[in-house]
């Protein structure tokens, strides 16, 4: 009896130790991010103002800003999200709901998972050959957006598949029993219920894409550019213009990299400020996605 008691005590102690360990790891991870963010804010504080957001790059550190860079990054993210979301979700749904379970599907599944581990520079080289030269897209926002979409596609697919798989089987069976087709089951039930997981995948994917430097340098992002892409809204019919997709661009990580390697120490302040803003952009983007996920989850009532 006493031996059994001691065994329970020991197991309970182990349980507590594990909770403690988890907490320490979590706090440590948070502290690192927090310290980094604070340090960037502290260093970049003198430049964090409206002018910094609305000026172009300049040879004078105190006049240089990130207008072209943050607009470029935002537009690239729009393209990336618009491409990666539908393609990734469609691929995942096909694999989960439609694809026959045979060796071809198995190979595709394994490869999708493997693709998530391919270094980003490889995607850059692929995009340089395929998008920039073969398809003639040039060094454009579209080419950059497509490249990053390709990069995060595996992440979106894997996350979506997990989410789709988590939808309970009886829900599907109930819908089929009422005579719904496979498309109706997917579009009306499976997809809406898994939207939370899909959005989580998008968050992780876009957060990775926004900081990527290697692939967009490879396809030819510029370092100095003092004009904005063509505005997407025009005064005349059809009011929407997509000319910006073909425009040259620069992006936040490239601007930062350029500033960090400049001789004038003033540029390092700029790089820190740009880093803080880039982190802020990532948090904002994630915030929107988390809010969307919350709204989707609220609508689910099984």
């Amino acid at each position: 009896m006493r031996a059994a008691q001691a065994g329970v005590e020991r197991r309970k102690l182990f349980d507590k130790l594990f909770v403690l360990l988890g907490l320490v790891v979590l706090v440590a991870a948070f502290a690192v991010l927090f310290a980094l963010f604070l340090d960037l804010l502290r260093q970049g504080a003198p430049r964090l103002d409206w002018d910094f957001l609305t000026s172009y790059a300049s040879r004078k550190p105190e006049q240089a800003g990130i207008l072209a860079a943050w607009v470029g990054t935002s537009l690239i993210m729009v393209v990336t999200a618009c491409v990666a979301m539908p393609v990734g979700v469609a691929a995942a749904i096909y694999l989960e709901e439609y694809a026959p379970k045979n060796w071809v599907t198995a190979i595709i599944e394994i490869n999708v998972t493997n693709l998530a581990g391919v270094p980003s520079i490889i995607y850059g080289l692929l995009a340089l050959g395929l998008f920039v030269y073969k398809l003639g897209l040039g060094q454009s926002i579209l080419a950059a957006g497509l490249t990053l979409a390709l990069l995060i596609l595996p992440i979106v697919i894997v996350a979506t598949r997990e989410a789709v798989r988590a939808v309970p089987r009886p829900i599907r069976e109930a819908a089929y029993a009422l005579g719904a087709t496979r498309w109706e089951v997917t579009a009306h039930h499976v997809l809406p219920y898994s939207m939370g997981g899909v959005l989580t995948g998008m968050i992780i994917g876009l957060s990775r894409a926004i900081g990527e430097t290697a692939p967009i340098i490879t396809i030819g992002a510029l370092s100095f550019i003092a004009f904005l892409p063509t505005p997407p809204l025009t005064g005349e019919f059809p009011f929407l213009s997509f000319a910006w997709l073909k425009d040259a661009f620069t992006a936040m990580p490239i601007q930062m990299f350029n500033w960090v390697s400049r001789p004038d120490p003033g540029f390092r302040v700029n790089a820190a400020a740009a880093g803080a803003i880039l982190l802020g952009m990532t948090l904002l983007m994630n915030g929107i996605a988390i809010w969307l996920r919350y709204r989707f989850r609220k609508k689910i009532n099984w």
């Binding site: 809406p192 510029l222 100095f224 003092a226 929407l240 040259a248 004038d264």
Partner: protein
């Protein structure tokens, strides 16, 4: 959840792509790309030029390195190539094959600076032979202390910092000291980011590094520039004056832009290059490079206006050539 908006958005995107006017904005854009050493100058000129033209002409500047810039240049993707060294033989061939003619224009000097820690009490001047002894491939694993270079220096470890093998600075320094481009010992701390080299020298009393003058100038209080004994036997430190009167040799070098002859026909490119050569000098100084003499800029401008194409170097770098000499040479392809 409605899928319709997503599909509609995708359809609109696809339709927009099909309708997007191709290269509508590209007409008035001047494209520069190439060396990160030349970048600050081109950036400054592009900035001022766009202000002067009130945004009517767009100028973009990229950083692909001198080699990367020439690759794009010889494919006809850019108008002007920034180069921290003359065009090489293989690049000349690539351009010739693509039928791209170019005008070679020196735009400034860079003084390669050899720097040591300010607490280093034993080194003030150095000869090219000592630099060679320090950096040549044969020194690898053998020359480990300062004493190994010069018996008068202490037996303290020698910590070397230098730029990576892809940089034009590395090419020029090895050519000027060891005597053969790209021929260097491999066991030093190499970094493509010159600020890493600067930090290396600032933090280690036994360190020695070389980099462009632009990286020395703002940090002059935190390090000591070594005076280099020139061919006349005078020890000269890096300075704009020493570069201009030719006494700081062999470590001062001209840096270039290469203008495509086809692009130079376009009015806005012509105007930009003329702006570069006539209004560039104060901007060059501002970003801590050494401007050419007025006479040399005039000569370069005359060459450009006359459309004098080709390179004065014939595919290999030369040390100690004055800008006036190279501008007077016949161009080769």
């Amino acid at each position: 959840m409605k899928l319709t908006p997503v599909i509609a958005a995708a359809a609109a995107l696809a339709a927009g792509l099909a309708l997007a006017p191709r290269d509508a904005a590209a007409q008035q854009t001047i494209k520069l790309d190439g060396s990160s050493t030349v970048f600050p100058i081109s950036e400054a000129v592009a900035e001022e030029f766009q202000i002067a033209r009130r945004g009517k002409v767009r100028v973009t500047v990229g950083i692909s390195g001198t080699g990367g810039g020439f690759k794009k240049f010889c494919r006809g993707e850019i108008d002007i190539s920034d180069a921290s060294r003359p065009i090489s033989k293989s690049e000349m061939d690539a351009c010739a094959k693509a039928g791209i003619q170019y005008i070679e224009l020196p735009v400034a000097y860079d003084a390669l600076t050899v720097a040591v820690n300010p607490k280093n009490t034993w080194v003030d001047t150095m000869t090219v032979a000592e630099l060679k002894k320090m950096w040549e491939p044969a020194a690898q694993g053998k020359v480990k202390t300062w004493k190994d270079v010069n018996a008068k220096w202490p037996a303290q470890p020698l910590k070397l910092f230098g730029p990576g093998a892809d940089s034009g600075t590395f090419d020029y320094f090895t050519e000027a000291t060891v005597g053969k481009s790209k021929s260097s010992r491999g066991d030093f701390t190499a970094s493509e980011d010159d600020n890493v080299l600067v930090q290396g020298v600032e933090s280690d009393v036994n360190a020695l590094a070389y980099f462009g003058y632009a990286y020395y100038a703002p940090n002059a209080l935190k390090m000591k520039a070594v005076k280099i004994v020139n061919s006349k036997g005078q020890a000269v430190g890096p300075s704009p004056k020493g570069v201009l009167d030719g006494s700081y040799e062999p470590l001062s070098r001209p840096i270039f832009i290469y203008v495509s002859k086809a692009s130079a026909q376009r009015a806005e490119v012509k105007e930009f290059v003329e702006f570069y050569l006539s209004k560039g000098a104060p901007l060059v100084e501002e970003v801590k490079y050494v401007p050419l003499a007025k006479k040399a800029y005039d000569l370069a401008l005359a060459n450009f206006r006359a459309g004098k194409a080709g390179t004065a170097f014939g595919g290999k770098n030369e040390v100690g050539l004055t800008v006036e000499e190279l501008l007077a040479r016949e161009g080769k392809f």
